[in-house]
Each structure stands twice: as C-alpha cells, then as structure tokens.
C-alpha cells in the first residue's frame, strides 16, 4: 500500500515535470476529474497561492482552480459558486453548455488541453473542471492590482494628451482602441519567454501596414527563445537588424498618441505586457527627431525646432572633437581675438587638448549617470559637487581650461535636445572615438569619422527600411516630414516604408483659408 501510494504520485510528477516542456504539444484533458486535479496539484505543488476548490454540482464533481491575487474572488464567489451551488437545474444532455449559459460572465471559453489550462490559470482566469468532461471552462475573471493611468514621465508634453501607457497590457490596448476605433486596427498576440510567458501584442492597421512587415516581425518574435521578458528592451535586442550598431533600430514610446500616429503611418507596434513602453518598427533615423508636439503646434515652430535639433545633433556629436582639432592643428582658422583669449585660458594647462577633452567628457558622463541612479536627495548633492568641483575648482587649479568647460557644457545641453533618449545614448557613445580622431588627424579625422558614421547609417536597415530614408533615398513626398515639418494640409502622403503601401493619406486641397466653404 505504502509503495503504491509512493509510486502513484511519483509517476504523476514525472508526467507533471514533462508537462511544461511539452506545453506546445497540447496534451488533452482526461475525462476523470481526479486525474486532472492530480495533474494540476502535482504541477502546482509547493505553490501555496494556487487554490483548488472542489465542490459538487448536481451529482457531478467539480473543481475551480485559480491563483490567489490574480482573479476576482468576489465575483467568483458571487457569480460562479453561487450559481453552481444554488441547486440550479442543469441540462444533463449538454451539461457544459447549460453551465455556460447560466453563468453571468461575459468572457468564458472552452479549453481542452493542459497547456491551455496552465496558460489560463497563469493569466488569472480561473478554470472550472467537471467530472466526465474532457473540456474545462476558462472564466475571464482577471483582476490584479495595477498602476493608474498617469502622465508619461519620460515624454512630457505641453500640448497633447496627458495619458501614458501603464504596465498593464489590457489598459494599454484599451487606450489605443479608444483613439483608433476602426476595426482595421489589429492585435496579434504572441507569447515570449519560457517562464514569464509574456504577452507581446503586434498591433497594426490592416491595409496601411505592409503584410510582409507583419509576417517578418512575427517570424522574428517566434524565434526568440529566452527565459523571460522583463522589459521592451529584451524584445528590441532580439529583433534588431544589426545588433552591433550603436543606433536604435526600433523606437520606444509610452504615449498612446505617438503610437497612434505611427500606426496611421503604416508602422507596426509591439506592446509588451509588464512595461509601459511600446516598440515602433520600422523607424528611420529621422523618426528619432520627431516629437509629437511638432505636429500639434504651428508648423513654423515645428520646422524651427526640427532644424534646431539637427543643429544640436551636430554640435553634441562634433563640438568637442572640432574644438580639440582646431586648438591642436588649425589655430589659423580661429579669428585672432578669439584665439588670444583661448590661448590665454589654456596657458599653463598641463594636458594637451585631447586629454583635457576626454577627461572632462568622462567626468560629465559620470556626473550625469550618478545623477540618474542615485536617490533624489543624494542626486542634488552630486550635481552641486559636480558643478562646483569640476566647473569651478578645476579651472582655478589650472587643470582644465575654461573654454573646455564651456564646450563640454554646451555639448551636454545639446545632447538633451534630442527628443528620443535612445539616440542620445548612441551620440554619447560615439563622441569619444570622434574626439580621439579629431585629436590625432585634426578636422580631416573628424571628417573621416563623419564619413564612417554616414556609411554605417547608410548600410543600416530597420526591418528592411533604409535607416537614412527618406533623405538618402530622396523621396520627395516624405521629405516634407524630416528636416522640416510641412503644414498638415500639405502632407497628403504617408511616408514610404517597406513594400506595398497606401500612399494617399488625406484629401487634396485641404488648405484652409478665408474663402473656404463658399464665399
């Protein structure tokens, strides 16, 4: 007897251990409820939060399995258990259907495999098992604690919606559906991560997004075989075209309006469970310099800010290296008065300009990183120390020249001009090799660095879209939304992405005016 008891569960546990591995193979449920319960209890052994509630309906054994804290127990008690235990008559000939009809739950599904049951329990939908049936009911009573909708922290706007995505996928989808009501908005779900089983939703507008693009994204997502997905960055790094590039080939945002704008341009969105950041693909270099407010404000301002951004991109990339190159090799280029003041400031400084620049840039990066990671109270102390010690004392001690401090500060400010944080990271990284080239080969070295950068960007693609398009491919219609931001009534065409696309976005002759609509 003892032996049999021991053997019984042990055989089951082997089956249970196998089960997660064979989850994709879909073992069907058995008719006997004891076997089913035994399977689940061995699977969830040592999981005190999984609750098995057995009861009898009519003459049938039944069991509800759910995870405490993921499901709405109040509704489960009041709507499910009460109905089932309330001596309600059920039609014996089609028992499951009659149960389904009696339960006041809108989202209720028949599932017939162990893996589907496991998924359902994991997602927070309780499952309802009956003796004698190979099917279980998955009750859509998901309820868990979630953050309320707040204004996005990383992407604030003066003008524009204040709602941001949250960690809850369902909320994010509803935010999107509330903006785009057309049924052409599609959501495809793929589970990624062996243990986290994170839901990744591919969202696109049918007819606007290229079908091959969606297939390609799906294919790339399905090849991901990792333990878990904790943030959109995990997905991003597994679906990129060129993993060695410092440039982001997928854009992330936590703003539903940005996501909607990109959907309407024919791009695909990846929404990931557990993170407020959605990924946008494909993107080009110039999408990284577009901010939602460019479109909400008057186009003159939009254009001006765009131009300013590219100017400051150049400054943040090249200013330190150009300064180093000019003070080291091309002094004749500086007007005499300026040269004298720079020379007098640099007088007595022990380092060559290149060392000085590298020193200060690294110090600046350290300050910036320290300011982000430290608790807020300590962070301000760091910035005071940084400003005083590095800014003031280093110059007075004659270790660094004052012009270098100015250059580094301007560079620092310039790097904050970029609306997307991820491209700012790439620029920070690239600044250092350019300084070294500028300090060794002068401006020619800086130009060589620029050329290498251009070559790299030219060979880069994001899901088949050339990274420098539409400028490097010279598409006249799309150029209206790159360096400049044309008036909305002028942008009659969607940007050309990959493959087939619906070019016309809006009706012609939308230009408003006094004489519009009958004199």
């Amino acid at each position: 007897m003892v032996i049999r008891i021991r053997r019984g569960p042990s055989r089951k546990t082997t089956k249970a251990q196998k089960a997660p591995k064979q989850a994709s193979q879909d073992i069907p449920l058995t008719q006997k409820i004891e076997e089913n319960i035994e399977f689940f209890s061995s699977l969830y052994q040592e999981s005190s939060d999984v609750i098995f509630r057995s009861f009898v309906v009519g003459e049938k054994d039944a069991c509800i399995i759910y995870i405490d804290g993921l499901s709405d127990t109040q509704k489960l008690d009041q709507q499910v258990l009460e109905t089932l235990l309330d001596k309600t008559e059920f039609d014996e000939s089609d028992f499951l259907l009659s149960v389904k009809n009696k339960l006041p739950i809108s989202n209720i599904k028949n599932i017939s495999t162990y893996s589907a049951c496991i998924d359902s329990i994991g997602n927070g939908s309780p499952i309802l098992l009956f003796d004698g049936y190979e099917e279980a009911l998955s009750l859509g009573l998901v309820k868990y604690e979630k953050r309320s909708i707040e204004e996005p922290q990383a992407e604030t706007a003066i003008r524009g919606p204040r709602e941001g995505f949250t960690e809850s996928l369902g909320v994010n989808i509803s935010l999107l559906r509330r903006i785009i009501k057309d049924p052409a908005l599609k959501m495809k779900t793929i589970l990624v991560g062996k243990y986290t089983k994170t839901k990744v939703v591919i969202s696109y507008i049918e007819g606007l997004a290229d079908n091959t693009l969606i297939e390609e994204i799906e294919r790339r997502l399905q090849t991901i075989n990792i333990d878990g997905v904790l943030e959109s960055g995990y997905i991003e790094q597994f679906i990129e075209d060129d993993p060695y590039s410092p440039f982001p080939q997928v854009l992330y945002t936590e703003r539903p309006d940005v996501v909607s704008a990109n959907l309407l341009e024919g791009r695909a969105i990846l929404m990931i469970e557990g993170t407020p950041f959605s990924l946008i693909a494909p993107v080009s270099f110039f999408s990284l310099f577009q901010s939602q407010e460019d479109y909400y404000e008057r186009f003159w301002i939009g254009t001006f800010i765009r131009v300013l951004r590219f100017l400051f991109l150049a400054i943040s990339l090249f200013l330190p290296s150009v300064y180093v190159a000019i003070t080291t090799f091309h002094q004749e280029m500086v007007p005499p008065d300026l040269l004298i003041s720079i020379a007098s400031a640099r007088e007595g400084i022990p380092f060559p300009a290149i060392v000085e620049a590298l020193l200060m840039e690294i110090a600046f990066e350290a300050l910036r990183e320290a300011g982000i990671r430290l608790p807020k109270q300590v962070g301000s102390a760091v910035s005071i120390v940084g400003a005083l010690v590095i800014g003031q004392a280093a110059v007075q001690a004659g270790i660094v020249g004052a012009p270098m401090i100015i250059v580094v500060s301007i560079t620092g400010i310039a790097s904050f001009m970029v609306p997307r944080y991820s491209i700012g990271l790439a620029i920070r990284l690239l600044r250092f090799p350019i300084i070294i080239l500028g300090g060794t080969l002068g401006l020619i070295g800086v130009m060589l660095a620029l050329i290498i950068l251009i070559i790299h960007l030219s060979s880069l693609k994001s899901f088949g879209l050339p990274y420098l398009s539409p400028v490097s491919t010279v598409e006249k219609n799309s150029l209206k939304d790159t360096l400049i931001r044309a008036p909305l009534w002028k942008m009659n065409h969607r940007p050309q992405l990959t493959g087939e696309y619906k070019a016309v976005r809006q009706g012609p002759n939308l230009k408003p005016g006094r004489n519009k609509g009958g004199e």
Binding site: I326, F329, H330, E332, M333, V334, P335, L441, G442, L443, I444, G445, V446, M447, L448, L450, I451, I452, I454, I455, S458, S459, P466, L468, V471, S472, T473, V474
Partner: protein, 363 residues
C-alpha cells in the same frame, strides 16, 4: 549578377556630380585658364560637350545590352579574347585613375592643411573609408552620396560671400584670341567630363532604367553649371593671375572675410572636400573592384576591395612623384588619354555592336 542592389536616378545624379567635380574643382580652373586666359569661364561649357556625347554613347550601349556592364558587353561585342583584353585594359585604367585621384586629394590635404602629418596617413584613411562603403555595395555608396554631396555642395555657397570682391573687368575682352584657346581649355575639362563613362556601370542597377539618359544628361548639366560657377568666381576675383596657382578656389576661400570676424573658411571647405573626394574615390574603387571581379569571373567583388585598396596606396605613390608632375599629367596627358579611353573607345564599341547587330539582323 555580382551586384544585387538597386539605385534610383536621383541617387545616381548625387553620385555622379561629386565624382566629376571633387578633384576637378581643385586645380582644373587654373589649368584650363592657362590656355583660355580671361575666357576661362567658358571652358566648362565647351568641355561639357564631351560629357553629353559620352552619356549618349553609354546610353546607346546600355540599350543594346541592358543589365550588362561594359566589362561584360565588351566580350560580347569584341569576341572573347579581344574583349577580355579590352576589359582588362579598362579595369587597369580605372585602377590607375583611382590612384591618381587619391594622390590629388592627398597632395591637397598635406600641402595645404596638415603639413606635418605623413601623407600616407591620409591615403590610408580615405581608402579605408571608401573601401568600407564599397564593401557595403552600390546602395550604400548611393545613400551615403546623397548625404555627403548635400553637405559638400552646400559649402560651395561660401563662394557667394566673396561677391563684393568681384571685378567683371577681368572677363573683358571676350574672345580676344578667338575660340581656339577656349577649346584648348575646354579639352582639359573634357577629361573630367569623359568620366561620365562611369555611368555605364550604374545604368544596369537603376530602378527605372528608362530614365537613365535624362538623368545622365541632367548630371552632366549640373557639373557644367558648377564648373562655370566656380570658374566665374576664380576669374572675376583672381583674374588671369589665377593660372599660376595650383588651387585657385582655395585661394579665393582664404580671402573671404565677412565683418572682420567670419574668415578663414578654408578649413571648412577642405573638410567638405573630404566628403566629395570620398564619394569620388568610392565610385572609382567600386567600378575598379566590380570590373576586376567581372573580368576574372569571381563570385563576389567584395573580396577584392581591401586588397585593391592596399595596392592603390602604393600605386598612388608610384604613379606620380610630385605635384609638378601631377599638374603636367593633368595638362598634357590626361585630356587625350581619358577621352580616348572613356569616349572614343566606347564609340568604337558602339559602332561595332551596331554593325554586328545590323548584320545579324539582315541575315
């Protein structure tokens, strides 16, 4: 097909314009001015005739053999043995030409900007970046060309800052010595315009091959206008004395001073010329590598790019001992040599091809 990429006609124009003018703008005005004196502003217009003719010849050849490069169709036209010799000659011509272009660029940099750094550093630098671009394929060259050419061309607007120093009197009297000196000067420009033969390597890779002729002609026109623009400024600011300078445009830029503060633009111009020369060398290196791979029927041209670049570093020093010889070569040899190889020989190819086609068509 060794090249799978496709480019658009606009990208081709963006590639071709700096390919012609990048080195041309450095010293051609003064060389042409040596013949044409105060009529030198007209020389590009005369020289461009060869450009238009070359584009037309190349276009006709392309129509006869669409999807083929000259290396491939010369074998079809001339037969296997002679065709092979011809294409080998063509490839070696472009290898040699690339080396000269590299030398012109490096001479300029180390003679005007970086006096103390060893010039071989710049040779290796520019060939390295060009080889990187060429390995990326024609699409990468084309896309980089759009960006680089835009920056490169926009700096030519700096010339406008010197508009207050213009003296139209330097242009007079027009055609004092007749047309002959202008034609002689135009011949110098023709050497550069004949480089439009390079189009024959790009026509097969166009998205819309039918627009090729128009786009080639447009590129030729742009080059002519830019040369005229530059020659006009060289002549009206420096006068005929500009013929004594190796780099007259550089001299003009040096002289620009706005409000006593904005001056010494020459380093910016030099920096942007690096971009232009990068495109030029990339295009030449691309054609040489692709041609070499096609002559020897290699499976990919990418493997020859870096070895060829290494060879070019050496070649650029073997060919030309110093700048005086370089200028002499550009004045006396290159006009005839370049036009012979890039315009006259293709013309013969076209005649033979047409004759063969007519004969095979009639029988």
């Amino acid at each position: 097909m060794l090249e799978k990429g496709k480019i658009s006609t606009i990208q081709m124009e963006f590639m071709m314009v700096p390919t012609i003018i990048a080195t041309g703008i450095l010293s051609v005005p003064s060389i042409a001015g040596r013949f044409a004196k105060h009529d030198m502003w007209m020389t590009p217009i005369i020289g461009s005739i060869i450009g238009f003719i070359t584009v037309f010849i190349v276009w006709k050849l392309h129509q006869l053999f669409p999807k083929l490069t000259p290396i491939e169709y010369s074998e079809k036209i001339l037969g296997k043995a002679v065709g092979k010799i011809f294409s080998l000659f063509l490839v070696s011509f472009y290898i040699d030409n690339t080396a000269i272009v590299v030398r012109q660029y490096v001479n300029f940099i180390s003679g005007n900007v970086m006096f103390e750094t060893s010039s071989v550093v710049f040779t290796i630098g520019i060939l390295f970046v060009s080889a990187l671009a060429v390995r990326g394929g024609i699409e990468v060259i084309a896309r980089s060309a759009v960006i680089c050419t835009t920056i490169y061309m926009s700096t030519s607007l700096f010339l406008l800052l010197s508009i207050k120093d213009i003296n139209m009197g330097f242009m007079l009297p027009i055609l004092e010595n007749g047309l002959l000196p202008v034609i002689k000067g135009g011949l110098v420009h023709s050497a550069w315009f004949s480089e439009f033969f390079l189009l024959s390597f790009f026509f097969p890779f166009l998205h819309h091959p039918k627009k090729g002729l128009k786009s080639g002609m447009k590129a030729s026109l742009y080059v002519m206008l830019i040369f005229t623009y530059v020659n006009f400024f060289v002549l009206t600011i420096l006068g005929v004395s500009s013929v004594n300078q190796f780099y007259p445009v550089y001299s003009i830029i040096r002289g620009i001073s706005v409000m006593g503060f904005f001056e010494n633009f020459e380093i910016i111009i030099t920096a942007s010329w690096v971009l232009g020369n990068f495109i030029k060398i990339s295009v030449f290196l691309y054609v040489a590598s692709l041609g070499l791979a096609q002559v020897f029927r290699l499976s990919t041209y990418r493997i020859v790019v870096f070895p060829l670049s290494l060879l070019l570093v050496l070649l650029s020093y073997w060919d030309i001992p110093n700048i005086v010889v370089l200028i002499d070569y550009l004045t006396r040899i290159q006009p005839f040599y370049s036009i012979l190889v890039q315009t006259v020989l293709p013309l013969f190819l076209l005649f033979i091809a047409l004759a063969r086609r007519k004969r095979s068509g009639s029988t």
